[in-house]
């Protein structure tokens, strides 16, 4: 890819300052201190607002800067790479407002846009104490009264519930799944005796964040507060979640890159009398983690481009990203932590306690915006469409846009998001062609094995019977395999469509592509051998990026801290 101008994330990084400078507003040391004190990072959030991240949560048509999702992905990742708590606290506003963008345009749309642009936190009131991810079981009730609704009940375990000005509340206005509405509740308009903020919940990680709740007792909201047509609240939430789940990829990528940078730095040291980077077992550990990170990046990038290129398949994309990235990043962090030993567990010594903090923080990503099982379930629901449309031709141009970072993206049509796809996944349908394209290249044999696995999986899915709520364990395993096949297609597609930086060792002889496909095949239970030197080459290519002050990315950009850790 020839980048004529530096990507927006470089300026953003620069303005956030060097995180190693302890006295900086957004420094590692500061974030560690706030975590220990369990104090909200107000000043850092102000800095992030001053750099306009919240503008990327609002579409251009409403005065914001949300044009291209890959740009937002980069920015979220940049914040998450320094501190996940800050990233999670800030990006939650996206989920708070996105319901308005996927709904018909009303005065409320503009109100929300204005509040978000002004930097107010807007929370999303989905979950309740007794029901967790089971949104249909929501009990908070919105009784219709003259001119609006009266809300009663409790939303709990809500990010920013207390500090947000406004909350988008999923509330019951009737019975069953179609008896729900999203109401935009501006706390400044409520009579004080009709609501109260619930105490901060003490958590394993993201300790500085405001995880609390809101209890309503006859709180009045006007009719205009409802998003969309009556009784479409669940649909509104689910559509909005497709977009936030895809962007969650940026949170995991940032945390994963942070862990990898810290570990690569340690690897410069000596153990057993030799530099760790000369020990094949150490290099293997780092190479596996590095390849996992690059798989994740390909999935998130192609996913975000897919939001524009193949909008009607966002349900599949979101589930793939939100399942794969948190779970694989968590495992990668655990592997690196075990390898680092005591060093990964210290709060004050060594690297400002960064490793243990990011490890604790990252685990939360599993649980919000739909957990592991919710996302796999989404894919199980897609099995019939995927199986039926194996041979349906795909839109070649749309695929190329999704896979080639050099191509301009068409504007995203918010209201074309669908709950379930009509024809499954373009990327999966393209897998035979992508594999054929790789034939004769160093990645060819790996691509062929992946395709072979995918064919076997499709044959299994052809016999799939919709399981209802009680999804058998092996069906979840099929969904897991499907996400890995999708990831493989993303890797093959990105590698064959992107324009690599000249002379970049990560791209030489398909290096990152081979490593990434190897990890995907291993996760599918089909470990492959790897040529001598592959681990070493991959680790050194990543280390070069670290040394040159670049992101650990297939298409790198400059990072704020310049060289070093």
């Amino acid at each position: 890819m020839t980048v004529a101008t530096a990507p927006p994330v470089e300026a953003f990084e620069r303005e956030l300052g060097d995180p190693r400078e302890a006295t900086g507003v957004f420094s590692y040391a500061r974030c560690n201190a706030l975590d220990k004190a369990e104090a909200f990072p107000d000043e850092i959030i102000e800095l992030v607002n001053a750099q306009g991240l919240q503008r990327h949560y609002v579409p251009e048509e409403f005065g914001g800067a949300l044009g291209e999702f890959p740009v937002v992905l980069d920015l979220v990742r940049a914040v998450a790479r320094r501190d996940l708590t800050v990233a999670i606290a800030h990006t939650k506003t996206f989920l708070g407002v996105v319901g308005a963008w996927v709904s018909p345009n009303t005065s409320m749309t503009h109100t929300l846009a204005r509040q978000a642009l002004d930097g107010f936190a807007i929370s999303s009131g989905m979950t309740e104490r007794a029901h967790g991810s089971d949104l249909v079981a929501s009990e908070v009730r919105a009784k219709e009264v003259r001119g609006g609704f009266e809300l009663s009940g409790e939303k709990w375990l809500i990010n920013n519930a207390t500090r947000s000005r406004t909350m988008s509340v999923l509330a019951r206005t009737g019975e069953g799944p179609r008896g729900l509405d999203v109401l935009v509740v501006d706390k400044t308009t409520l009579r004080p005796e009709t609501y109260r903020c619930l105490p901060k919940v003490r958590t394993h990680g993201i300790r500085s964040a405001d995880i609390s709740g809101l209890a309503f007792d006859g709180a009045f909201v006007p009719t205009e507060a409802r998003l969309g047509r009556p009784h479409t609240g669940l649909e509104t939430m689910l559509k909005g979640l497709q977009l936030t789940r895809t962007l969650c990829g940026g949170l995991s990528l940032g945390a994963g890159e942070h862990a990898l940078r810290l570990t690569l730095d340690v690897a410069e040291r000596r153990r057993y009398g030799r530099v760790l980077l000369d020990q094949p077992e150490a290099v293997r550990t780092l190479a596996d983690a590095g390849a996992d990170h690059l798989v994740n990046e390909a999935v998130a990038l192609v996913g975000c481009r897919g939001i524009h290129a193949i909008s009607e398949e966002t349900s599949v994309v979101a589930a793939v990203v939100k399942y794969l990235l948190p779970s694989r990043t968590d495992r990668m962090i655990a592997d690196l932590g075990r390898w680092l030993g005591v060093r990964s567990q210290l709060v004050d010594a060594d690297t400002d306690g960064r490793f243990q903090k990011l490890a604790r923080d990252h685990r939360v990503i599993h649980f919000f915006d739909g957990n592991t099982l919710v996302n796999l379930n989404m894919l199980v629901n897609e099995f019939p469409a995927i199986a039926r449309h194996v041979a349906t031709p795909y839109d070649d141009e749309a695929l190329r846009i999704a896979l080639d970072p050099g191509r301009p993206l068409p504007p995203f049509k918010m209201r074309s998001v669908r709950l379930v796809t009509r024809t499954g996944s373009t990327l999966l349908r393209a897998l035979p062609d992508l594999a054929a394209g790789a034939a004769g290249t160093p990645a060819g044999p790996l691509a062929a094995r992946l395709l072979d696995h995918h064919r076997r999986l499709l044959a299994e899915l052809a016999d799939h019977q919709p399981p209802g709520v009680k999804v058998p364990r092996h069906v979840f395993a099929q969904a897991e395999r499907l996400t890995l096949c999708w990831a493989g297609a993303a890797v093959l597609g990105l590698a064959s469509h992107a324009d690599p930086p000249a002379g970049d060792p990560l791209w030489t002889d398909g290096l990152w592509q081979r490593a990434a496909l190897g990890r995907i095949l291993a996760a599918l239970g089909e470990p492959t051998g790897r040529p001598a030197g592959q681990d070493h080459e991959l680790v050194h290519a990543l280390r070069d990026r670290l040394r040159n002050g670049q992101s650990l990315s297939v298409l790198p950009h400059r990072v704020a801290e310049g060289v070093g850790r």
Partner: protein
């Protein structure tokens, strides 16, 4: 199918730690979870717990019977301490188990007088710190910098040790220090130091190290500046430190993971409690197949971990010249099994696994504690590096012979362990691995793993000498990894044969071998529905009757 769990041990005797700890869910219990979590929040030791362990004479567990203590079988030692790890790993380690890590070095190489002195310290309820770790070198002990300069009449100590449990609270310490300049095994010595013998001005403590887990532990450090002590502090000969540690830590590498099994036991009880109480999508969570399968699999893995830790702990006594690699295998594999099982259970618990409050808050504490409990003397890479150079020799010592019955029968009292008799590298037949070697290749799931062992044997024999050290390739390390998995399979097969309880049922063995086979590259490790149901029912019966989920199936939480 209905199963009836039966405790394999007689009712709890008066000295049973579990019954003293009482019901963890009782908020008024001073050593219940409410108190444990409050101490964790404040990052202080659980005082009531420490008093309870004082009363129980915890440190007597670490002293051989012949010296007046209660240690006979090493597997029994792990089982007797497991209740405290079930309750609060920070209490177990913090009180703590590091006194054992220190003492084993003296049992391994100390003089009669030193052994008596250490026995008296522990029998008197005092702690001994194990001052081995240096942050700059991790588990690369050979490059440690703390020096013990041995002159004709004195030993001069200088340097720093970091992340040492109870360094301030202990009256004495076992210190690992360099007496030579080269990084070879003969350049290090073990010293038994009474802190009050060090000139006060020559010693200072480092600030406490804070960690996300084990917050109640006093992890500290020490800096010594040219303190002079007498030659009588030397444990064993000068330069013998590495050899001593290699013997001594075989005991803790087998025993500590055996204690840590209690962490997963509690996590299983908590997760099962959640799953049978919580409703999602119109069903109780435990009725959803994914949750059921996850619980069944984690229960299977707990028993695998216990089989391996228990068998190797007994192996120390029965095959003292062949337990170096097996002990490293326990230290490598058991923490991994426990951590991954906890992670899988967290998926069932969902957001509840992330909270430091509420009925299941102990889970998130265990999740933070476990990686630190698992660190011990060495990490996973060093464990594999203990095994790797021995593989060509080990491969010649897997006899296809029936193991001695007492290897798996925990009711048989073991001869006292003579730590000094443990060999630094294995040089005798390994009856544990022999259990698997004796299985015929066409004998079902065990047979497939026996065939893997045959293959491993061939690969180990062909390993060139260049592939036996830290510079070995990743494939060589993988052989060491496979060794640990096959040793676990052997322990499961042997335990199954000897057991009259649940592990004696073929369903359990099949489940265990299915799980291990997946880690060896056979299949995806998912249990068939009928096995899941058998395991889930056994687990449910145990949780309902408040019985432990380990091999003992003993009363807990009452």
């Amino acid at each position: 199918m209905t199963t009836h769990p039966t405790p394999t041990t007689p009712p709890a005797p008066q000295d049973d730690l579990e019954s003293r700890l009482g019901d963890p869910f009782d908020d008024d219990n001073p050593v219940g979870y409410a108190a444990v979590l409050a101490a964790d929040e404040q990052a202080v030791p659980l005082v009531a717990g420490e008093h309870l362990l004082d009363d129980w004479r915890f440190n007597h567990e670490f002293v051989p019977r012949s010296l007046g203590g209660r240690w006979s079988g090493t597997d029994a030692l792990a089982r007797r301490l497991r209740p405290v790890f079930r309750r609060d790993p920070a209490l177990g380690l913090g009180y703590g188990v590091t006194s054992l890590m220190a003492a084993v070095n003296v049992w391994a190489a100390g003089s009669t007088a030193q052994r008596r002195a250490v026995a008296d310290i522990l029998l008197g309820g005092e702690r001994i710190a194990a001052a081995f770790h240096e942050l700059a070198h991790g588990d690369d002990f050979l490059h440690n910098e703390f020096t013990a300069r041995i002159t004709d009449d004195r030993i001069v100590l200088a340097g720093g040790k970091q992340v040492i449990n109870n360094i301030e609270r202990a009256g004495s310490l076992v210190l690992f220090a360099r007496n030579g300049d080269t990084p070879d095994p003969g350049s290090h010595s073990t010293l038994l130091v009474t802190k009050r013998d060090l000139p006060q001005e020559s010693m200072r403590y480092l600030p406490r190290f804070t960690t996300p887990g084990l917050r109640g532990c006093h992890l500290g450090g020490i800096v010594v500046d040219d303190a002079s002590i007498g030659h009588d502090a030397l444990v064993g000969a000068p330069g013998q430190g590495m050899e001593t540690a290699s013997r001594a830590f075989q005991v803790t590498r087998a025993a500590l993971p055996g204690m840590a099994v209690g962490v997963l036991d509690t996590a299983l009880h908590l997760t099962h409690d959640f799953a049978t109480d919580r409703r999602l999508y119109g069903h109780v969570v435990a009725d959803l197949p994914h949750a059921r399968a996850t619980l069944a699999a984690a229960f299977t893995d707990l028993l695998i971990a216990d089989c391996l830790a228990t068998a190797v702990s007994r192996h120390l006594h029965l095959a003292p010249r062949a337990t170096s690699a097996p002990a490293a295998a326990v230290k490598y594999l058991v923490p991994l099994l426990l951590e991954e099982a906890l992670h899988d259970l967290s998926v069932v618990l969902g957001a509840r696994s992330y909270l430091r409050e509420g009925r299941h808050a102990a889970f998130s504490k265990l999740f933070r504690d476990l990686p630190l409990v698992s660190i011990g003397d060495i990490g996973p890479t060093s464990c594999l590096l203990t095994i790797l150079p021995q593989l060509p020799t080990l491969a010649r010592h897997w006899p296809a012979a029936d193991p001695p019955a007492e290897l798996f029968d925990t009711t048989v009292e073991l001869p006292e362990l003579e730590v000094s008799q443990l060999s630094v590298t294995d040089s005798a037949p390994d009856p544990l691995m022999g259990t698997l070697a004796g299985v015929s290749a066409d004998d079902g799931p065990a047979g497939r793993l026996a065939a893997d062992l045959t293959e491993l044997r061939e690969q180990c024999r062909r390993l060139p000498s260049t592939e036996l050290g830290p510079g070995a390739g990743a494939d060589a390390f993988d052989l060491a990894r496979r060794y640990t998995l096959l040793l676990a399979a052997a322990a499961c097969v042997g335990t199954h044969r000897a057991s009259t309880g649940f592990t004696g049922e073929s369903a359990w063995l099949t489940a265990a071998l299915t799980r291990l086979a997946a880690r060896l590259g056979h299949g995806d490790g998912l249990l068939p529905d009928d096995l899941t149901e058998t395991l889930f029912h056994e687990l449910t019966a145990r949780v309902d009757q408040r019985l432990s989920c380990d091999l003992e199936c003993a009363p807990v939480f009452r």
